[in-house]
């Protein structure tokens, strides 16, 4: 006799979102978490007294506003503060600012190239079109193109009509957009290298691809979709660090009598007669439920939690070939004061922005080459933020916290596993790069947490430390995510589901996969669908 209707493995933000919807629908749900804190990669942790680190994910990227409103996350303490633009420091000692204000951005681009300022108008228009096309898909279940079921056929027809509705010109542009490299896509618009480098960054974050790798262009959307969403909450800081996102989702879950168990690592998923029936914990306890949902990535789920014989060889093969590539490291730095960046001047509002210290596509591509060859980038692409300028609660008064996301770092080095010395060397590379642009930066460091992809895997459980739970490339997107035939959140055994970023629409702190999975589970249980669809704004 099982006590629960559903068990969700992993208390990451998607797991919690999924559980919240199941609980809201009236199901009895238990969430199991291996760590002694919840949140997965959306956490705030105090590793140095007085400082709160968002020590994994560091911004709300495209958190779905529908979910934010529907689960009343504001009431549960989540407050998202928009932050301002981006800035790129050039080798020549200048800066290039990116603003959320379109006209301001255009003027800044004009400082580098008049032609590019004009191109920016076209560029923004074209990208916005793509955003509007893709946005409603985030909160829908992808159809299975090989199936003849009415549900799938209807969805395919809907999709096809939508695509056709774009008109001939835009259809072609859409296909090109999804298959081109971000560098080549930008080269069709812009001539100035600083402009191109600054705009390309969002195309390579978190992925084992370089700016010249085809398939990176569409990642630009991530950056622009926030603008189109318009509503606060899609891109921004969570007040109190990223842990606030998880805590708010947990709050929504608990409001509907959900139960969370921490320090409860799942060892195995129990399968009986081709149906998942429960889980075994590391401590030997067995818990039963009719439905099991995994928030872990596919590799961890299928290769570690299932008994080998319970799965088909073909599935195992698909899982083994699923591409999860750790490519990013992270530095969390406690600072004794605010670092100065002379190129920017004092009190520049761009201090609140993402800072980047790499100003050409070739430099970024070379950073990628290092990764390919099993080294961390000697001249990395760093996405650097000082959240405490926006949210001072994260550090003692007058002190600051800096989050540095580093692209690229391999999960395993050419020389072998990461050692302490490697970690130190990696940290030094990053700190030196920032130090070049901020003379007092190094002296202000109170504490620095340096994390290799391996560290991220060990702590959070993300395979290879890949922040998206799997590369976001064409072969692993939409109806191919995580792999063909399993894009609708159902696993290969009955009663088993996936709800993490390994599923559609993929990584980022969106909470969309969790919500999408809940929709399918409720469908199977013949319950009313309570998961919101994307609002249509066109």
């Amino acid at each position: 006799m099982s006590k629960y209707d559903a068990i969700v493995i992993g208390a990451g933000h998607n797991g919690l979102c999924n559980a919240a919807y199941l609980a809201k629908s009236g199901l009895k749900v238990l969430v199991l978490e291996k760590n002694d804190y919840i949140g997965g990669a959306a956490v705030s942790r105090e590793l140095e007294e007085g400082w709160l680190y968002s020590n994994c994910s560091y911004v709300c990227s495209l958190l779905r506003p529908e979910i934010y409103r529907d689960l009343n996350l504001q009431k549960h303490g989540l407050q998202v503060i928009a932050y301002g633009g981006s800035v790129t420091f050039t080798k020549k000692g200048d800066i290039f600012g990116g603003y959320s204000d379109h006209d301001l951005s255009r003027r800044e681009i004009g400082r580098y190239s008049k032609k590019d300022a004009d191109a920016y108008v076209r560029f923004s228009r074209d990208i916005s079109k793509q955003c509007r096309f893709i946005k409603p898909l985030l909160m829908r279940t992808p159809p299975d193109p090989t199936s003849f079921k009415p549900k799938d056929l209807n969805e395919l027809i809907w999709l096809f009509k939508r695509l056709y509705g774009l008109g001939e010109e835009t259809i072609y542009e859409t296909i090109r957009f999804y298959t081109m490299s971000v560098a080549e896509y930008l080269e069709e618009y812009f001539e100035n290298d600083v402009v191109k480098a600054a705009l390309s960054g969002s195309g390579i974050i978190g992925t084992g691809l370089g700016p010249y790798s085809p398939g990176t262009a569409y990642v630009l959307l991530h950056h622009y979709m926030g603008e189109v969403d318009g509503s606060i909450g899609s891109w921004g800081f969570a007040r109190g660090g990223m842990g606030s996102v998880s805590n708010a989702l947990a709050g929504a879950f608990q409001e509907h009598d959900g139960e969370i168990m921490t320090n409860a690592e799942v060892k195995q998923i129990l399968v009986k007669n081709g149906r998942s029936v429960g889980v075994v914990l590391e401590n030997g306890d067995e818990l039963y439920a009719k439905n099991i949902v995994s928030n872990l990535d596919v590799k961890r789920t299928y290769l570690k939690l299932f008994e080998h014989g319970d799965l088909d060889e073909k599935i195992i093969n698909q899982v083994e070939n699923f591409k999860i590539r750790g490519s990013s490291g992270k530095l969390n730095i406690a600072l004794d004061g605010l670092p100065e960046f002379p190129a920017m001047g004092k009190n520049n509002p761009l201090m609140h922005a993402d800072m980047h210290f790499i100003d050409s596509l070739e430099r970024i591509e070379r950073a990628f080459d290092d990764w390919k060859n099993g080294r961390w980038s000697a001249d990395p692409y760093c996405d650097t933020l000082i959240p405490t300028l926006t949210d001072p609660t994260m550090a003692p008064p007058g002190k600051h916290y800096m989050s540095v996301f580093v692209q690229y770092a391999p999960p395993k080095l050419a020389t072998g596993e990461w050692t302490d010395k490697d970690r130190e060397g990696f940290g030094k590379t990053v700190i030196d790069q920032i130090g070049e642009y901020s003379p007092n930066f190094k002296d202000l460091i109170v504490h620095a947490e340096i994390r290799s992809p391996q560290d991220i895997e060990n702590e959070v459980g993300l395979t290879e430390g890949n922040i998206f739970q799997g590369e976001l490339t064409m072969d692993q997107m939409f109806f191919n995510r995580p792999f063909p035939g399993y894009s609708q959140f159902r696993g290969p055994v009955k009663g088993f589901y996936m709800c993490g970023s390994s599923t559609h629409p993929g990584g980022g702190v969106m909470a969309a996969p969790g919500a999408n999975a809940a929709r399918e589970i409720l469908f199977d249980l013949k319950r009313e669908n309570i998961v919101p669809e994307a609002e249509n704004d066109d």
Binding site: P145, T146, Y164, L166, G167, E168, E169, T170, I171, Y172, E173, I175, R176, T179, M180, E184, E187, E188, L209, Y212, S213, P214, G215, N321, K323, E362, E365, R366, D369, K372, N373, T473, M474, D475, F479, N480, F483, P484, G485
Partner: protein
Amino acid sequence: MTKKNKKIAVVGAGHNALVCATYLAKAGFSVDVFESRSQVGGMIGKRKLGEEYSVPGAAHLLSHVDESVFKKLNLKKHGLEYSAQDLKTVSLNRDGNALIIDGDEVDGDDITMKEKKEFKELNKRMVKLAGFLESTYGKKPPRLGSDDRGDMFSLASLGLNARMMGADSMSDLLKFIAVNIYDVLNEFTDHNHLKGTLAFDAILGNHMGPRTNNSVITYLHQLTGGANGKNGSHSMVSDGTGSFTKSLEEAAKKAGVNIHLNASVKSISFTDDLEITGLTLKNGDAFDADIIVSGIDPRSTFNCLVGPKKLEAGVVHKVNNVRMRGNAAKLHLALSSKPKFKGISEDQLGQRIVYSPSMEYLERTFDFNKYGQISDDLPMEITIPSIHDKTLAPKGHHVLSAIVNYVPYHLKEGWENSKSRVLDQCINQLDGLAPGLKGLVVQSELLTPADIEEEYGITGGQWHHGELTFDQFLMLRPVPKMAQYSSPISSLYMCGAGSHPGGGIMGTAGKNAAMEIMKRES
């Protein structure tokens, strides 16, 4: 006006242009072909090396041919002769362990039974996908978003074809089509040398490394067609590919095509309403025509023949963005006797010899190319055509023809002072693979991508008239809305490799263009 009265001028006499011209002439049009060089065939054809030697110009092997075109034009009757068919691929590495690939069989270099089976499985699945690709080749790509019944039908049959492959193959297609060959090959086997050899086919002549996404399409493209219906098979044509060009020329003439050699076209002439009136040659001669078909690459067509001022800004922009980065050079050597390659027996010398020891090697080499530099160890496709064709060299002597990949068009240091250095480097590299070869060299030349641009008039020296990538493929080739062999200027058509289905000695683009012209102009 009936088609009998319509005059067609074809620019360029490459193989696609000749195929197109011949089809049109057979259909009753009056067709004139204008070629700037003194012989037809474009990149295919015999080339002199010194006084006594001949080599195949740029292309040296026939692969993925469209047999239906060959048959329709009756090329065999007109003199096409193979000097060798169904060549095996012999892949070298530095240690002299050769790997031999013959269809779906592989042997050599300590390959195990398991790996042989893995290759068979890979081949089976890829050939199936290539078959799907090929099913789209023989007709014009549909326009998307149009209400035209023909387009709708064509698109629907594309979808249907994909479905008819069965769920597994359709999944394969969706999964593999936009990714890179590196990941795909790693899924199938661990044999590095085998993977390096296969990946070489994907990257040859393209601006990509094995890890570049889209390299699966190029691999599949290589597997389409094939002489004698054998996928991916290679053949050599006698007389240094000359018998192929000669047969095309004969077929064209027989059909009534007038071929003008040494007739370089300067521009297309228009009325004020942009109606075509004919073309002007560089020597000042003018020629009247109602229809112009361009066999040259899309960028040259619009920038040089039409002129950007006559086109919408958006069109000019798109055309200029067609990526045409050539990065394959051609090496020709005359040798005083047969070279001896390490690990290759004498009777294997006549096969297609490849140097590409591993995918990692290829990727590293490509990294140099990316930044406009040249690695000191370049991948090559080597043939010794004189083994099968004694007429190419004096008795006992031989000629070697190699495509050297990852030689960039834009060399950072400039080509002016680097060409002889790169030529020496290539010879030294070959000497390492075939000890003593250096001492046999009587004549040598290297055609860099810049030379190929100069000699054959292809922008960027890009063999395929535009890189074959997803965003320049099918209905996007060469640019959206022009994938149906037509252009914004009515009565101006394109028939070269820049159009669907792209490069290679297929003749399919020429045939498809001819069909479209017949339909629209009759």
